[in-house]
Amino acid sequence: MSDTLLDMKNVMIEGRSDRQWKPIIKGVDLSLKRGEILGLIGESGAGKSTLGLAAMGYTKGGCRISGGSINFDGIELAGASNEALRQLRGKRIAYVAQSAASAFNPAFKLINQFGEAPVQHGVLSKAQAQSDAIELYRKIRLPNPETIGFRYPHQVSGGQLQRAMTAMAMACRPDLIIFDEPTTALDVTTQIEVLAAIRDIVREYNTAAIYITHDLAVVAQMADHIKVLLRGEEVEQAPAREMLSNPQEDYTKSLWAVREFRRAPRPPRDVNETPLLVVENVSAAYGPVKVLNDVSVTIKRGSTVAIVGESGSGKSTLARVIMGLLPPSKGGIVYDGTALEGVGSKRKRGLKRHIQMIHQMADTALNPKQRIKDIIGRPLDFFIGLKGAAKDARIRELLTLIELDPDEFMHRYPSELSGGQKQRICIARALAAEPTFIICDEVTSALDQLVAEGILRLLDRLQRELDLTYMFITHDIATVRSIADEVVVMQHGVIVEQGTNDDIFTPPHAPYTELLLSSVPEMDPDWLSNLLAERAEESAQASLT
């Protein structure tokens, strides 16, 4: 018996669109030994998930495996019968999806869903499955392992749910687990716990894994080998340390270089200038739930203020208060010396024009039934009063400004655009109102690193050319470091620390800022191990004193 567990040779997968088959994976080889972790990286659309699923002999609806062989431990999966595949899936090959919240059935308790696969496959009885679940919950370091399984999916946090799903995938002690971006939707502080838990449990049971992600720093912590994909083809594969220290191909190098974006230094501004926007002691609540508590921020003209914090810290709520979508219960907003009405609909149109917002998900921020020229044209008509030919000319100008070809894009629908292009359209729509202040709510977090970098460069250029002021909401520390003048750190609806970029990133930090900063994964493959050791030591010392 050889120790090669999975051997995929020249795998080709096609997807059906516009009445014809188009290649998605164009002949990729992949081989995996027992107990080995392979990191699969690439931008979205590279075919990472499709290849990962193919390792189970599965394709998504509308796709088919059109060539090559997938050999799992001596069994050929390409073209295998559904019955044969059913014997393997869940039992010997398991899958952990990106969004645990939508992968769990909300109507059943966690522990009952845990038991589904082993009971179905006849590996464990129902009672055995329950005790095994508790055992695994303990190993994966879930709090209260005896009782957490008896909760429903909505009663536990996102990070815990992702760990519960990893435990569930472990139920039959499979030979291979496919992790499809398991931590992408989590905060940095939670991500660490989940990463450590996954790594330990996979090592303990000597399970082989394919780890799909677009985050290089994450893959650096997890994988033994790294394979880079681009448009359905392999770019290169190498052992993790080698790949990180010495990438061979240009594309890989460009991926590695993304994190080094720094904007050019700005000339200093007049210190006595009136601030553009002041948030004065704002408190706000959704019904009885208090979200913001006495928050004050001052934003200077032409600067970029970054608001950081984990989800639930009140970052987006602050944006909603400034936009007038949520009237504050206390305090107020002053724009350029004028106090703004708490309720947005009472603000004057001329004043509203100056404050624009760009949303996180460009997908849901663009009406799918409107053409690009209507989406950008509406604010031109609404705020500026442009009509007909003048409006068309201005739409063309705006599209050129965001580096898209007007002739090509004006008449398209949002569904015909890529993620990065959609976000550019959102930026153009905000610019159409000729604003002075733009709130960017996690504008790059749904995008690939290369595309995100393009958006950041664009925003930076626009700021210089149009003298814009940004409020940048994000949980990505790398982004903050590269573009912010000032940083505001929030936690539980309160400002923990605020200051200039340099102040915040030079020690000493406030304790929460310290936690946040140290949790950002680094490209060093030993980073996670070192950090965990460090934190363990600190808590040991703390308990001594």
């Binding site: 509308g62 947005g344 609909s345 509203k352 949303h359 849901t364 921020a365 509406r378 609404f382």
Partner: protein, 285 residues
């Protein structure tokens, strides 16, 4: 338009069957005076004649040509059903979208009011009102349209609420767009697909409802030809039919003709609706 032709090319066989059936009925209804060999409500021969060349589908109890009455029936029954469905949709959809967009007390009061209307069995409610108002065509259309608009209200409100959580609605609201602009430009285009599918289904129900009312004697009144009424008039014939020879058996088949016309149209519309629903669901398989 190009889009529609594109979808038609991809349509499955079932959808094509549905389209052909619906087109055939539409053709009959529109060209009824040209196609029907005799007038709608004139005695043209002896009563209860068998299927012969003079009257291909025989004559009824008053000596009227059955085939002509079937063709005119398409015009009457389907025409009234269509008008009713349109009215029900105009009422229900605009109210539903309004309730979802405005929210608050307007939504609460509208929804409870609709609940009250929906709590009463529609057939009994319709019978009650039609007995009071009398059975004119206008009363018939109004009563059924109002009863049916409650279901449309429910659907359009639910669909709109899903759309209203989208960020592009928030963007429009931040811009300060008026309510009618929001409904017309942002919500309605996205709600169109499920509403069109519902239109087809609602049409079937309305159409069956009218036939049921006609069968009970409160729908379209004689001598106007109507399929529900025709079933009622000839229903008792089944009991007296003589199945010894083909000729005499046709006499017993009389009630099955209008009933079949109702059934086939219902199936045809449903086949088309299934396809539209599938398109709007965005599933690839």
């Amino acid at each position: 338009m190009n889009n529609l032709i594109f979808h038609l090319r991809d349509a499955p066989v079932s959808a094509w069957v549905g389209i052909v059936i619906v087109a055939f009925y539409a053709f009959l209804a529109i060209c009824a005076p040209v196609l029907a060999p005799y007038a709608e409500s004139v005695s043209v021969g002896a009563q209860y004649q068998t299927w012969t060349s003079a009257h291909y589908l025989g004559t009824d109890a008053l000596g009227r040509d059955v085939m002509s009455r079937l063709i005119y029936g398409a015009r009457n029954t389907v025409g009234i059903a269509l008008a009713t469905t349109f009215l029900a949709f105009t009422l229900g959809a605009s109210w539903g979208l309004l309730a979802a967009t405005l929210g608050g007390w307007f939504d609460t009061i509208s929804s409870r009011l609709i609940d009250v209307l929906m709590a009463i069995p529609p057939l009994i409610f319709a019978l009650l009102i039609l007995t009071i108002t009398g059975t004119s065509v206008v009363a018939l259309i109004l009563v059924i349209a109002i009863l049916d608009s409650t279901r449309v209200f429910r659907l359009s409100r639910a669909v709109a609420q899903g759309i209203l959580t989208m960020d592009y609605i928030e963007v429009a609201r931040m811009r300060g767009e008026g309510m009618f602009w929001l409904i017309r430009k942002e919500v309605l285009p996205n709600a169109a697909a499920p509403l069109i599918a519902e239109f087809g289904l609602r049409f079937c129900f309305v159409f069956l409802f009218i036939s049921a009312l006609s069968f009970l004697g409160l729908g379209i009144q004689p001598p106007t030809a109507d399929w529900g009424g025709m079933v009622r008039e000839s229903a008792k014939l089944i009991a007296f039919a003589n199945f010894s020879s083909w000729e005499s058996a046709t006499f017993g088949l009389a009630p099955l003709l209008p009933a079949g016309a109702i059934a086939i149209l219902t199936i045809g519309v449903n086949l088309v609706v299934d396809w539209v629903l599938h398109l709007s669901s965005g599933l690839k398989e």
